[in-house]
């Protein structure tokens, strides 16, 4: 089964577009993962606490594999410092790491982070492409 890693930016887009409910089934089917740092970050907003409380058990993904740990540390050193370009936050880096190491697709809206992910061979989608794929509709050709 193909899985999708969701970044904070796409979750925010889904909520704004009132489309968060469309994730219910894929989440139940185990198709959606959200990095633990993304959940930690969103939890700081009161608007997200309830959704996270209900869904985190099904979607939460941590850095667990040695390869993930290695890549996560490497990316933090390369893109996590404030003088690096692009400068990515720890949750962006965790999302890229999980997608790269487990061959999951990555749904995000952040051109800078997307570029870093593509260099690592990650397939990146935006919100509309993600929803189409989850609904079984044809998706336009995606850049890899």
């Amino acid at each position: 089964m193909h899985k999708y890693v969701l970044d904070a930016s796409v979750l925010i887009d889904l909520k704004r577009a009132n489309k968060l409910r469309r994730l219910t089934r894929p989440i139940d089917q185990g198709k959606i993962v959200v990095p633990s740092y993304v959940l930690n970050r969103l939890r700081k907003s009161v608007r997200w606490r309830e959704w996270i409380r209900r869904k985190q058990e099904s979607v939460k993904k941590r850095i667990q594999l040695p390869a993930e740990q290695e890549l996560f540390a490497e990316l933090l050193r390369k893109h996590g410092s404030r003088s690096s370009s692009p400068w990515l936050a720890d949750d962006d880096i965790m999302a890229i790491t999980i997608a790269a190491c487990r061959q999951f697709s990555l749904a995000m809206r952040d051109p800078h982070a997307e570029d870093v992910a593509r260099v690592l061979g990650v397939r990146v989608l935006n919100m509309d492409q993600l929803l189409n794929e989850l609904a079984g509709l044809p998706t336009e050709r995606l850049p890899v």
């Binding site: 930016s9 850095i63 594999l65 996590g80």
Partner: protein, 377 residues
């Protein structure tokens, strides 16, 4: 799935540096981060390392991003001097909260320097030239005159001190400081340059005075002191207060302005009403207390007037604003140069959305909303 045997993937010295910058012992740091003290001690010695969740907890407890533990940073310049605590009532203070704010201050300085570098804005701050000569001036009144002259201010009241500091290359961050008694701090950092932090929870007039006060520290001793409003008996603090008062309320202008008030006997004696002091305070955008202090110094009020009256003047707090909008005000206080650089870096693809949230010290949903509003504007 195989459980990972964690090696020292973080930099042990960064773990220690983050903890020590808050003045925390191992036990207290471990308690805050919900880890075992013995484990933390081992990680700091390079034995094993925290897992991703423990890393997040440590970052939250220390007020640093997770990446702080993976990259080398420079030490803060000198030890932060918390001597203000010795002269303030204990119950007013929240020393641990204040140390976290100093960590936040360092992160903001680091972020602004990095933004300046990536946007090609790094240049010698113009204040450097003033500082080079200022160090030879040992009298606060003269130093204030010199600075006003270099800024081309004449003897008029200063309308926008923060703008002047921004243009002089001083990084100014107005941030909420928990507890009471801490008005500001500053440092001349070898990597980040001159910077000051001012307490957002004090009224605007007092914040302006704090900026002028911190400027004196930057010009004379390079900062490093956490300054409280009440620690008047420390020599450097007295100097900085006298400088601030002279800078904001130049003698010639004050004498001219209060002359009619003195002639009408509204101002000058022990019975000077608060309303007369407030008229002067409005002109110089400073507090009633600072005005009284200045007038006393210029012998336009009886000696001991301020001390006798200050107990009657309750400490006012700035209006808090609507709850949902407080974060916008918080961002605004970080200063126009900083926030426009954050926006520019984002629009040029140099930083991510979550990085914007980190830099503005808000949550990621608020960062998204902020960017949208800015784009619309």
């Amino acid at each position: 799935m195989t459980q990972v045997e964690r090696g020292p993937w973080v930099r042990p010295e960064q773990l220690r540096r983050a903890r020590e910058s808050l003045g925390l012992g191992l036990d207290e740091a471990a308690r805050r981060a919900s880890v075992e003290a013995a484990e933390l001690e081992g990680w700091e010695a390079g034995l094993g390392g925290p897992d991703d969740e423990q890393l997040w907890n440590l970052a939250e407890a220390y007020g640093r991003p997770v990446a702080y533990f993976f990259t080398e940073t420079r030490d803060v310049p000198g030890r932060q001097d918390f001597r203000v605590q010795a002269v303030l009532k204990r119950e007013l203070l929240d020393p641990e909260g204040q140390k976290l704010v100093v960590a936040e201050f360092e992160e903001l300085c680091r972020a602004q320097s990095a933004l300046e570098a990536v946007l090609g804005r790094r240049e010698t701050p113009p204040i450097e030239l003033i500082r080079a000569q200022a160090r030879q001036i040992g009298v606060p009144e003269q130093l204030a005159r010199f600075v006003r002259e270099r800024w081309g201010l004449g003897s008029e009241p200063i309308r926008d001190l923060r703008g002047l500091l921004d243009r002089s290359g001083v990084k100014v961050f107005v941030v909420a400081v928990p507890g009471e008694g801490l008005s500001g701090t500053s440092w001349w950092h070898p990597a980040y340059g001159p910077a000051m932090l001012v307490n957002r929870l004090e009224i605007e007039q007092r914040r302006v005075f704090s900026m002028a006060h911190e400027l004196a520290h930057l010009l004379i001793d390079g900062g490093h002191v956490l300054c409280g409003y009440l620690n008047l008996e420390v020599a450097e603090e007295t100097f900085a207060n006298q400088f601030a008062a002279s800078l904001l309320m130049p003698e010639d202008d004050v004498r001219r302005f209060v002359e009619p008030l003195r002639e009408s006997e509204e101002l000058g004696g022990w019975d000077t009403p608060d309303s007369a002091l407030d008229k002067v305070a409005r002109r110089y955008k400073t507090s009633r207390e600072a005005v009284a202090w200045r007038l006393e110094h210029l012998r336009l009020l009886p000696q001991g007037f301020t001390q006798a009256r200050r107990r009657e003047w309750s400490v006012r707090r700035p209006a808090r604003g609507r709850k949902g909008e407080r974060w916008r005000r918080h961002v605004q206080h970080l200063g126009a140069p900083y926030i426009s650089m954050v926006q520019e870096a984002y629009s040029k693809g140099l930083i991510s959305l979550s990085a914007v949230a980190d830099m503005l010290r808000i949550d990621v949903a608020q960062a998204d909303e902020w960017l949208r509003t800015r784009e619309e504007q």
